[in-house]
Symmetry: C2
Subunit: 261 residues, 2 copies
Protein backbone atom coordinates (compact mmCIF):
# COMPACT_ATOMS: atom_id res chain seq x y z
CA UNK A 1 0.00 0.00 0.00
CA UNK A 2 1.31 3.45 -0.84
CA UNK A 3 1.77 5.87 1.97
CA UNK A 4 2.26 9.48 2.65
CA UNK A 5 1.91 11.03 -0.79
CA UNK A 6 -0.58 13.91 -1.03
CA UNK A 7 -2.85 12.00 -3.40
CA UNK A 8 -3.06 9.08 -0.98
CA UNK A 9 -3.72 11.45 1.91
CA UNK A 10 -6.51 13.15 -0.02
CA UNK A 11 -8.18 9.82 -0.82
CA UNK A 12 -7.98 8.75 2.85
CA UNK A 13 -9.73 11.98 3.89
CA UNK A 14 -12.36 11.54 1.21
CA UNK A 15 -12.92 7.90 2.16
CA UNK A 16 -13.35 8.98 5.80
CA UNK A 17 -16.05 11.45 4.75
CA UNK A 18 -13.94 14.49 5.67
CA UNK A 19 -14.06 16.00 2.16
CA UNK A 20 -17.26 16.07 0.12
CA UNK A 21 -16.56 18.97 -2.27
CA UNK A 22 -14.63 19.65 -5.46
CA UNK A 23 -11.18 18.16 -5.84
CA UNK A 24 -9.65 21.07 -7.81
CA UNK A 25 -6.52 22.15 -5.96
CA UNK A 26 -6.25 18.94 -3.89
CA UNK A 27 -2.97 17.02 -4.25
CA UNK A 28 -1.42 19.39 -6.83
CA UNK A 29 0.72 17.60 -9.40
CA UNK A 30 -1.32 14.38 -9.30
CA UNK A 31 -3.58 13.20 -12.10
CA UNK A 32 -7.32 13.46 -11.45
CA UNK A 33 -9.74 11.43 -13.49
CA UNK A 34 -13.37 11.21 -14.60
CA UNK A 35 -15.21 8.08 -13.44
CA UNK A 36 -17.72 6.06 -15.45
CA UNK A 37 -19.02 2.73 -14.06
CA UNK A 38 -21.08 0.49 -16.35
CA UNK A 39 -22.48 -3.05 -16.29
CA UNK A 40 -20.29 -5.63 -18.07
CA UNK A 41 -22.92 -5.88 -20.80
CA UNK A 42 -22.05 -2.31 -21.82
CA UNK A 43 -18.41 -2.28 -20.79
CA UNK A 44 -16.82 -3.75 -23.91
CA UNK A 45 -18.72 -1.36 -26.16
CA UNK A 46 -17.70 1.57 -23.98
CA UNK A 47 -14.05 0.44 -24.00
CA UNK A 48 -14.29 0.35 -27.79
CA UNK A 49 -15.87 3.82 -27.83
CA UNK A 50 -12.95 5.16 -25.77
CA UNK A 51 -10.41 3.42 -27.98
CA UNK A 52 -11.98 4.95 -31.09
CA UNK A 53 -12.25 8.45 -29.59
CA UNK A 54 -9.04 8.91 -27.62
CA UNK A 55 -9.12 12.72 -27.60
CA UNK A 56 -12.46 13.15 -25.78
CA UNK A 57 -12.19 9.75 -23.99
CA UNK A 58 -8.56 9.22 -22.90
CA UNK A 59 -8.79 6.00 -20.90
CA UNK A 60 -6.18 5.99 -18.12
CA UNK A 61 -7.54 3.14 -15.99
CA UNK A 62 -10.08 0.31 -16.07
CA UNK A 63 -11.12 -2.28 -13.50
CA UNK A 64 -11.78 -5.98 -13.92
CA UNK A 65 -15.53 -6.79 -13.81
CA UNK A 66 -16.75 -6.65 -10.20
CA UNK A 67 -13.40 -5.43 -8.89
CA UNK A 68 -13.53 -1.97 -7.28
CA UNK A 69 -9.73 -1.65 -7.35
CA UNK A 70 -7.56 -0.14 -10.08
CA UNK A 71 -3.99 -0.69 -8.86
CA UNK A 72 -2.49 0.87 -11.99
CA UNK A 73 -3.90 4.20 -10.80
CA UNK A 74 -3.24 3.76 -7.07
CA UNK A 75 -2.48 0.89 -4.71
CA UNK A 76 -5.28 0.51 -2.19
CA UNK A 77 -7.70 2.59 -4.26
CA UNK A 78 -11.36 1.65 -3.75
CA UNK A 79 -13.45 3.18 -6.50
CA UNK A 80 -16.61 2.83 -4.32
CA UNK A 81 -15.44 5.13 -1.51
CA UNK A 82 -12.57 7.29 -2.72
CA UNK A 83 -14.43 10.00 -4.62
CA UNK A 84 -16.16 12.83 -2.72
CA UNK A 85 -19.52 12.36 -4.42
CA UNK A 86 -21.08 10.24 -7.18
CA UNK A 87 -23.99 10.40 -9.56
CA UNK A 88 -26.13 7.30 -10.14
CA UNK A 89 -28.05 7.19 -13.43
CA UNK A 90 -30.80 4.65 -14.12
CA UNK A 91 -31.87 4.30 -17.75
CA UNK A 92 -30.05 7.55 -18.49
CA UNK A 93 -31.81 9.56 -15.77
CA UNK A 94 -30.08 10.99 -12.70
CA UNK A 95 -31.40 9.03 -9.68
CA UNK A 96 -29.11 9.82 -6.74
CA UNK A 97 -25.96 11.68 -5.69
CA UNK A 98 -24.48 9.46 -2.96
CA UNK A 99 -21.13 10.00 -1.20
CA UNK A 100 -20.37 6.26 -1.34
CA UNK A 101 -21.42 3.57 -3.83
CA UNK A 102 -20.56 0.48 -1.79
CA UNK A 103 -24.28 -0.33 -1.61
CA UNK A 104 -24.63 -0.01 -5.39
CA UNK A 105 -21.67 -2.20 -6.27
CA UNK A 106 -22.28 -5.42 -8.20
CA UNK A 107 -20.21 -8.29 -9.51
CA UNK A 108 -20.75 -7.19 -13.10
CA UNK A 109 -19.71 -3.55 -12.81
CA UNK A 110 -16.65 -2.21 -14.62
CA UNK A 111 -15.05 1.12 -13.68
CA UNK A 112 -13.49 3.34 -16.33
CA UNK A 113 -11.29 6.32 -15.45
CA UNK A 114 -10.64 8.96 -18.10
CA UNK A 115 -7.98 11.68 -18.02
CA UNK A 116 -9.19 15.24 -17.49
CA UNK A 117 -8.15 18.75 -18.42
CA UNK A 118 -6.82 19.56 -14.92
CA UNK A 119 -3.58 17.82 -15.94
CA UNK A 120 -2.92 19.82 -19.10
CA UNK A 121 -4.12 23.04 -17.46
CA UNK A 122 -1.47 22.52 -14.79
CA UNK A 123 1.15 22.05 -17.51
CA UNK A 124 0.00 25.26 -19.24
CA UNK A 125 0.05 27.27 -16.00
CA UNK A 126 3.50 25.87 -15.13
CA UNK A 127 4.67 27.14 -18.54
CA UNK A 128 3.41 30.64 -17.72
CA UNK A 129 0.36 30.51 -19.99
CA UNK A 130 -2.54 32.29 -18.26
CA UNK A 131 -5.95 30.63 -18.30
CA UNK A 132 -8.70 33.23 -18.27
CA UNK A 133 -11.44 31.10 -16.68
CA UNK A 134 -9.14 30.26 -13.76
CA UNK A 135 -8.12 33.91 -13.33
CA UNK A 136 -11.82 34.83 -13.23
CA UNK A 137 -12.76 31.96 -10.92
CA UNK A 138 -15.18 30.59 -13.51
CA UNK A 139 -15.89 27.25 -15.16
CA UNK A 140 -14.39 26.74 -18.58
CA UNK A 141 -16.83 27.27 -21.47
CA UNK A 142 -17.97 24.03 -23.15
CA UNK A 143 -19.81 23.59 -26.46
CA UNK A 144 -21.49 20.80 -28.35
CA UNK A 145 -19.96 20.64 -31.84
CA UNK A 146 -20.96 19.20 -35.20
CA UNK A 147 -18.04 16.73 -34.96
CA UNK A 148 -19.33 13.15 -34.79
CA UNK A 149 -17.57 10.76 -32.46
CA UNK A 150 -16.80 7.34 -33.96
CA UNK A 151 -19.70 5.15 -32.74
CA UNK A 152 -19.19 1.84 -30.93
CA UNK A 153 -22.25 -0.30 -30.32
CA UNK A 154 -24.81 1.73 -28.40
CA UNK A 155 -22.42 4.63 -27.75
CA UNK A 156 -22.42 7.56 -30.14
CA UNK A 157 -22.92 11.33 -30.20
CA UNK A 158 -21.33 14.66 -30.98
CA UNK A 159 -18.00 15.75 -29.53
CA UNK A 160 -18.12 18.31 -26.74
CA UNK A 161 -15.21 20.75 -26.57
CA UNK A 162 -13.89 23.21 -24.03
CA UNK A 163 -12.59 26.59 -25.18
CA UNK A 164 -9.75 28.70 -23.80
CA UNK A 165 -8.95 32.11 -25.36
CA UNK A 166 -5.23 32.79 -25.93
CA UNK A 167 -2.85 35.17 -27.64
CA UNK A 168 -1.30 33.80 -30.87
CA UNK A 169 2.07 33.21 -29.17
CA UNK A 170 0.37 31.29 -26.36
CA UNK A 171 -1.63 29.22 -28.87
CA UNK A 172 1.61 27.98 -30.48
CA UNK A 173 3.11 27.16 -27.08
CA UNK A 174 -0.12 25.56 -25.82
CA UNK A 175 -0.26 23.26 -28.85
CA UNK A 176 3.33 22.19 -28.15
CA UNK A 177 2.68 21.59 -24.46
CA UNK A 178 -0.64 19.77 -24.71
CA UNK A 179 0.66 17.58 -27.56
CA UNK A 180 2.89 16.00 -24.92
CA UNK A 181 -0.19 14.83 -22.98
CA UNK A 182 -2.30 12.53 -25.19
CA UNK A 183 -3.56 10.78 -22.03
CA UNK A 184 -5.37 13.91 -20.88
CA UNK A 185 -7.06 15.14 -24.10
CA UNK A 186 -3.80 16.05 -25.88
CA UNK A 187 -3.53 18.74 -28.55
CA UNK A 188 -6.46 21.00 -29.43
CA UNK A 189 -9.00 19.69 -31.93
CA UNK A 190 -9.63 23.11 -33.45
CA UNK A 191 -8.45 26.70 -33.35
CA UNK A 192 -9.79 29.93 -34.76
CA UNK A 193 -13.20 29.49 -36.39
CA UNK A 194 -16.00 28.32 -34.01
CA UNK A 195 -18.53 28.15 -36.86
CA UNK A 196 -16.40 25.53 -38.66
CA UNK A 197 -17.16 23.05 -35.86
CA UNK A 198 -20.81 24.01 -35.49
CA UNK A 199 -20.56 26.56 -32.69
CA UNK A 200 -22.93 29.41 -33.47
CA UNK A 201 -22.61 31.74 -30.50
CA UNK A 202 -19.28 31.68 -28.67
CA UNK A 203 -20.77 33.76 -25.82
CA UNK A 204 -23.45 31.11 -25.19
CA UNK A 205 -21.72 27.92 -24.08
CA UNK A 206 -23.57 24.66 -23.64
CA UNK A 207 -21.96 24.29 -20.18
CA UNK A 208 -19.73 26.53 -18.06
CA UNK A 209 -19.50 30.30 -17.95
CA UNK A 210 -19.65 32.67 -20.97
CA UNK A 211 -16.06 33.20 -22.06
CA UNK A 212 -14.14 36.47 -22.29
CA UNK A 213 -12.61 36.29 -25.79
CA UNK A 214 -10.67 39.43 -26.76
CA UNK A 215 -10.19 40.76 -30.30
CA UNK A 216 -6.48 39.86 -30.39
CA UNK A 217 -7.03 36.35 -29.09
CA UNK A 218 -7.69 33.04 -30.83
CA UNK A 219 -10.27 30.60 -29.42
CA UNK A 220 -8.60 27.23 -28.79
CA UNK A 221 -10.81 24.14 -28.54
CA UNK A 222 -9.93 20.90 -26.76
CA UNK A 223 -11.93 17.68 -26.76
CA UNK A 224 -13.84 17.51 -23.47
CA UNK A 225 -14.62 14.72 -21.02
CA UNK A 226 -18.32 15.64 -21.18
CA UNK A 227 -18.37 13.86 -24.57
CA UNK A 228 -18.58 10.33 -23.11
CA UNK A 229 -21.27 11.48 -20.65
CA UNK A 230 -23.46 12.47 -23.58
CA UNK A 231 -22.73 9.19 -25.37
CA UNK A 232 -23.66 7.27 -22.21
CA UNK A 233 -26.81 9.36 -21.61
CA UNK A 234 -28.19 8.57 -25.05
CA UNK A 235 -27.27 4.85 -24.71
CA UNK A 236 -29.47 4.81 -21.56
CA UNK A 237 -27.87 1.83 -19.80
CA UNK A 238 -29.95 0.49 -16.89
CA UNK A 239 -27.19 1.59 -14.49
CA UNK A 240 -24.34 4.06 -14.84
CA UNK A 241 -22.36 5.64 -12.03
CA UNK A 242 -20.11 8.68 -12.56
CA UNK A 243 -18.34 11.21 -10.35
CA UNK A 244 -20.35 14.33 -9.56
CA UNK A 245 -18.89 17.10 -11.78
CA UNK A 246 -15.80 18.54 -10.11
CA UNK A 247 -15.58 15.67 -7.59
CA UNK A 248 -12.91 13.67 -9.37
CA UNK A 249 -10.85 10.58 -8.60
CA UNK A 250 -7.39 11.58 -7.36
CA UNK A 251 -4.80 9.06 -8.57
CA UNK A 252 -1.20 8.41 -7.55
CA UNK A 253 0.00 9.18 -11.10
CA UNK A 254 1.96 12.40 -11.51
CA UNK A 255 0.82 14.82 -14.18
CA UNK A 256 4.49 15.15 -15.19
CA UNK A 257 4.59 11.40 -15.89
CA UNK A 258 1.77 11.71 -18.41
CA UNK A 259 4.11 13.54 -20.82
CA UNK A 260 5.06 11.31 -23.74
CA UNK A 261 8.27 13.22 -24.50
Amino acid sequence: MDSGNPAHQARIEIRAGKHRGHTAGLAPGYVQGNLCVLPADYATEFATFCQRNPKPCPLIGMSAPGDPRIPTLAEGLDIRTDLPRYRVFRNGELAEEPADITGHWRDDLVAFVLGCSFSFEEALLDAGIPLRHIERGENVAMYETNIDTVPAGRFRGKMVVSMRPMTPADVIRAIQITSRFPGVHGAPVHIGFPEMIGIGKIREPFLGDPPDLKDDEIPVFWACGVTPQIAVAQARPPLCITHKPGCMLITDLLNAHMAVF
Copy 2:
Protein backbone atom coordinates in the same frame (compact mmCIF):
# COMPACT_ATOMS: atom_id res chain seq x y z
CA MET B 1 35.15 10.56 -48.15
CA ASP B 2 31.49 9.73 -48.47
CA SER B 3 30.35 8.11 -51.66
CA GLY B 4 27.29 7.42 -53.60
CA ASN B 5 24.59 9.19 -51.64
CA PRO B 6 22.38 11.51 -53.72
CA ALA B 7 23.59 14.61 -51.87
CA HIS B 8 27.20 13.77 -52.63
CA GLN B 9 26.33 13.06 -56.26
CA ALA B 10 24.56 16.42 -56.54
CA ARG B 11 27.55 18.28 -55.11
CA ILE B 12 29.92 16.50 -57.52
CA GLU B 13 27.76 17.59 -60.46
CA ILE B 14 27.57 21.14 -59.16
CA ARG B 15 31.34 21.24 -58.55
CA ALA B 16 31.88 20.04 -62.12
CA GLY B 17 29.75 22.90 -63.44
CA LYS B 18 26.98 20.58 -64.67
CA HIS B 19 24.28 22.22 -62.56
CA ARG B 20 23.99 26.00 -62.22
CA GLY B 21 20.33 26.40 -61.25
CA HIS B 22 18.09 26.08 -58.23
CA THR B 23 18.64 23.15 -55.91
CA ALA B 24 14.96 22.63 -54.96
CA GLY B 25 14.12 18.99 -55.68
CA LEU B 26 17.76 17.87 -55.86
CA ALA B 27 18.73 15.08 -53.42
CA PRO B 28 15.30 14.79 -51.75
CA GLY B 29 15.51 14.00 -48.05
CA TYR B 30 18.82 15.82 -47.54
CA VAL B 31 19.21 19.09 -45.66
CA GLN B 32 19.92 22.16 -47.79
CA GLY B 33 21.41 25.25 -46.21
CA ASN B 34 21.86 29.00 -46.65
CA LEU B 35 25.47 30.15 -46.96
CA CYS B 36 26.98 33.29 -45.46
CA VAL B 37 30.74 33.88 -45.64
CA LEU B 38 32.24 36.74 -43.64
CA PRO B 39 35.72 37.97 -42.70
CA ALA B 40 36.93 36.81 -39.28
CA ASP B 41 36.60 40.38 -38.02
CA TYR B 42 32.81 40.02 -38.40
CA ALA B 43 32.51 36.29 -37.77
CA THR B 44 32.29 36.26 -33.99
CA GLU B 45 29.62 38.94 -33.98
CA PHE B 46 27.64 37.04 -36.61
CA ALA B 47 27.97 33.78 -34.64
CA THR B 48 26.60 35.65 -31.64
CA PHE B 49 23.77 37.08 -33.75
CA CYS B 50 22.82 33.54 -34.83
CA GLN B 51 23.03 32.23 -31.27
CA ARG B 52 20.73 35.00 -30.06
CA ASN B 53 18.23 34.58 -32.90
CA PRO B 54 17.98 30.82 -33.44
CA LYS B 55 14.57 30.87 -35.14
CA PRO B 56 15.53 33.08 -38.12
CA CYS B 57 19.24 32.06 -37.97
CA PRO B 58 19.48 28.33 -37.19
CA LEU B 59 23.22 27.68 -37.49
CA ILE B 60 23.82 24.11 -38.68
CA GLY B 61 27.48 24.40 -39.69
CA MET B 62 30.48 26.74 -39.41
CA SER B 63 33.99 26.55 -40.78
CA ALA B 64 37.27 27.34 -39.09
CA PRO B 65 38.77 30.68 -40.33
CA GLY B 66 40.28 30.21 -43.78
CA ASP B 67 39.08 26.60 -44.04
CA PRO B 68 36.62 25.98 -46.89
CA ARG B 69 35.60 22.59 -45.48
CA ILE B 70 32.75 21.84 -43.05
CA PRO B 71 33.07 18.10 -42.38
CA THR B 72 30.14 18.11 -39.94
CA LEU B 73 27.88 18.86 -42.92
CA ALA B 74 29.61 16.62 -45.47
CA GLU B 75 32.96 14.92 -45.81
CA GLY B 76 34.83 16.34 -48.79
CA LEU B 77 32.61 19.40 -49.00
CA ASP B 78 34.33 22.47 -50.47
CA ILE B 79 32.27 25.55 -49.72
CA ARG B 80 34.03 27.43 -52.58
CA THR B 81 32.85 25.15 -55.38
CA ASP B 82 29.91 23.08 -54.22
CA LEU B 83 27.07 25.58 -54.60
CA PRO B 84 25.57 26.29 -58.06
CA ARG B 85 25.97 30.05 -57.81
CA TYR B 86 27.07 32.66 -55.29
CA ARG B 87 26.55 36.33 -54.58
CA VAL B 88 29.49 38.52 -53.62
CA PHE B 89 28.68 41.69 -51.68
CA ARG B 90 31.22 44.45 -51.11
CA ASN B 91 30.30 47.02 -48.45
CA GLY B 92 26.74 45.72 -48.53
CA GLU B 93 26.34 46.10 -52.33
CA LEU B 94 25.95 43.18 -54.73
CA ALA B 95 29.13 43.05 -56.82
CA GLU B 96 29.13 39.69 -58.65
CA GLU B 97 27.28 36.39 -59.07
CA PRO B 98 30.08 33.87 -59.70
CA ALA B 99 29.66 30.09 -60.03
CA ASP B 100 32.81 29.48 -57.97
CA ILE B 101 34.47 31.53 -55.21
CA THR B 102 37.89 29.88 -55.18
CA GLY B 103 39.40 33.13 -56.44
CA HIS B 104 37.68 35.13 -53.68
CA TRP B 105 38.76 32.87 -50.84
CA ARG B 106 41.01 34.29 -48.12
CA ASP B 107 42.69 33.00 -44.99
CA ASP B 108 40.41 35.06 -42.79
CA LEU B 109 37.03 33.98 -44.20
CA VAL B 110 34.53 32.02 -42.10
CA ALA B 111 31.60 30.15 -43.68
CA PHE B 112 28.26 29.91 -41.87
CA VAL B 113 25.53 27.53 -43.01
CA LEU B 114 21.98 28.10 -41.76
CA GLY B 115 19.08 25.66 -41.94
CA CYS B 116 16.31 26.48 -44.42
CA SER B 117 12.59 25.95 -44.78
CA PHE B 118 12.99 23.22 -47.44
CA SER B 119 13.56 20.75 -44.56
CA PHE B 120 10.38 21.53 -42.63
CA GLU B 121 8.36 21.87 -45.83
CA GLU B 122 9.38 18.32 -46.72
CA ALA B 123 8.24 17.15 -43.27
CA LEU B 124 4.89 18.94 -43.73
CA LEU B 125 4.35 17.47 -47.20
CA ASP B 126 5.31 14.00 -45.93
CA ALA B 127 2.58 14.42 -43.28
CA GLY B 128 0.01 15.19 -45.96
CA ILE B 129 -0.21 18.92 -45.29
CA PRO B 130 -0.57 20.75 -48.60
CA LEU B 131 1.55 23.85 -49.20
CA ARG B 132 -0.27 26.31 -51.44
CA HIS B 133 2.80 28.07 -52.89
CA ILE B 134 4.27 24.73 -53.96
CA GLU B 135 0.96 23.61 -55.51
CA ARG B 136 0.87 26.89 -57.43
CA GLY B 137 4.53 26.73 -58.43
CA GLU B 138 5.21 30.05 -56.71
CA ASN B 139 7.67 31.43 -54.20
CA VAL B 140 6.51 31.57 -50.60
CA ALA B 141 5.35 35.04 -49.47
CA MET B 142 7.82 36.81 -47.16
CA TYR B 143 7.26 39.91 -45.03
CA GLU B 144 9.33 42.27 -42.95
CA THR B 145 7.82 42.42 -39.45
CA ASN B 146 7.99 44.81 -36.49
CA ILE B 147 9.76 42.08 -34.47
CA ASP B 148 13.29 43.18 -33.56
CA THR B 149 16.02 40.60 -33.70
CA VAL B 150 18.37 40.58 -30.70
CA PRO B 151 21.35 42.65 -31.89
CA ALA B 152 24.95 41.42 -31.70
CA GLY B 153 27.69 43.91 -32.46
CA ARG B 154 27.11 45.37 -35.93
CA PHE B 155 24.31 42.93 -36.77
CA ARG B 156 20.72 43.97 -36.11
CA GLY B 157 17.39 44.42 -37.90
CA LYS B 158 13.77 43.32 -38.07
CA MET B 159 12.76 39.69 -38.40
CA VAL B 160 11.58 38.56 -41.83
CA VAL B 161 8.91 35.84 -41.87
CA SER B 162 7.44 33.52 -44.48
CA MET B 163 3.69 32.85 -44.51
CA ARG B 164 1.82 29.67 -45.41
CA PRO B 165 -2.01 29.62 -45.33
CA MET B 166 -3.53 26.53 -43.70
CA THR B 167 -6.79 25.12 -42.40
CA PRO B 168 -7.13 25.13 -38.57
CA ALA B 169 -6.54 21.37 -38.36
CA ASP B 170 -3.40 21.68 -40.47
CA VAL B 171 -2.16 24.59 -38.34
CA ILE B 172 -2.28 22.39 -35.21
CA ARG B 173 -0.48 19.56 -37.00
CA ALA B 174 2.06 21.92 -38.61
CA ILE B 175 2.95 23.39 -35.21
CA GLN B 176 3.53 19.86 -33.89
CA ILE B 177 5.64 18.83 -36.87
CA THR B 178 7.80 21.94 -37.18
CA SER B 179 8.40 22.02 -33.40
CA ARG B 180 10.44 18.87 -33.96
CA PHE B 181 12.83 20.79 -36.24
CA PRO B 182 14.42 23.66 -34.29
CA GLY B 183 17.49 23.44 -36.55
CA VAL B 184 15.46 24.54 -39.59
CA HIS B 185 13.41 27.47 -38.18
CA GLY B 186 11.26 25.30 -35.86
CA ALA B 187 7.75 26.22 -34.76
CA PRO B 188 5.92 29.23 -36.22
CA VAL B 189 6.59 32.63 -34.63
CA HIS B 190 3.02 33.84 -35.13
CA ILE B 191 -0.40 32.71 -36.33
CA GLY B 192 -3.59 34.51 -37.09
CA PHE B 193 -3.22 38.29 -36.95
CA PRO B 194 -0.69 39.76 -39.47
CA GLU B 195 -1.20 43.29 -38.10
CA MET B 196 0.06 42.19 -34.65
CA ILE B 197 3.53 41.66 -36.13
CA GLY B 198 3.50 44.78 -38.29
CA ILE B 199 2.26 43.31 -41.57
CA GLY B 200 -0.18 45.76 -43.11
CA LYS B 201 -1.14 44.15 -46.41
CA ILE B 202 -1.00 40.37 -46.55
CA ARG B 203 -1.44 40.46 -50.35
CA GLU B 204 1.67 42.60 -50.77
CA PRO B 205 4.65 40.57 -49.58
CA PHE B 206 8.12 42.06 -49.26
CA LEU B 207 9.50 39.10 -51.26
CA GLY B 208 7.91 36.14 -53.06
CA ASP B 209 4.51 35.88 -54.70
CA PRO B 210 1.22 37.32 -53.35
CA PRO B 211 -0.36 34.56 -51.29
CA ASP B 212 -3.75 32.92 -51.77
CA LEU B 213 -5.26 33.10 -48.25
CA LYS B 214 -8.82 31.76 -48.07
CA ASP B 215 -11.50 32.86 -45.58
CA ASP B 216 -11.43 29.58 -43.67
CA GLU B 217 -7.64 29.51 -43.41
CA ILE B 218 -5.24 30.87 -40.83
CA PRO B 219 -2.01 32.59 -41.91
CA VAL B 220 0.97 30.84 -40.29
CA PHE B 221 4.25 32.73 -40.02
CA TRP B 222 7.70 31.17 -39.70
CA ALA B 223 10.99 32.99 -39.09
CA CYS B 224 12.79 33.27 -42.42
CA GLY B 225 16.40 32.93 -43.49
CA VAL B 226 16.22 36.30 -45.23
CA THR B 227 16.48 37.84 -41.74
CA PRO B 228 20.28 37.41 -41.48
CA GLN B 229 20.70 38.73 -45.03
CA ILE B 230 19.09 42.00 -43.95
CA ALA B 231 21.19 42.12 -40.79
CA VAL B 232 24.33 41.59 -42.90
CA ALA B 233 23.30 44.15 -45.52
CA GLN B 234 22.91 46.90 -42.94
CA ALA B 235 26.20 45.94 -41.24
CA ARG B 236 27.89 46.55 -44.64
CA PRO B 237 30.96 44.34 -44.13
CA PRO B 238 33.72 44.95 -46.71
CA LEU B 239 33.14 41.42 -48.04
CA CYS B 240 30.25 38.99 -47.70
CA ILE B 241 29.54 35.97 -49.89
CA THR B 242 26.19 34.18 -49.90
CA HIS B 243 24.45 31.60 -52.05
CA LYS B 244 22.33 33.02 -54.86
CA PRO B 245 18.69 32.69 -53.71
CA GLY B 246 17.46 29.16 -54.43
CA CYS B 247 21.00 27.88 -55.14
CA MET B 248 21.60 26.28 -51.77
CA LEU B 249 24.30 24.11 -50.23
CA ILE B 250 23.24 20.45 -50.29
CA THR B 251 24.56 18.66 -47.19
CA ASP B 252 24.88 14.98 -46.28
CA LEU B 253 22.54 15.45 -43.29
CA LEU B 254 19.14 13.85 -43.59
CA ASN B 255 16.10 16.04 -42.93
CA ALA B 256 14.74 13.19 -40.80
CA HIS B 257 17.82 13.41 -38.59
CA MET B 258 17.08 17.06 -37.79
CA ALA B 259 14.05 16.00 -35.72
CA VAL B 260 14.72 16.45 -32.00
CA PHE B 261 12.13 13.87 -30.97
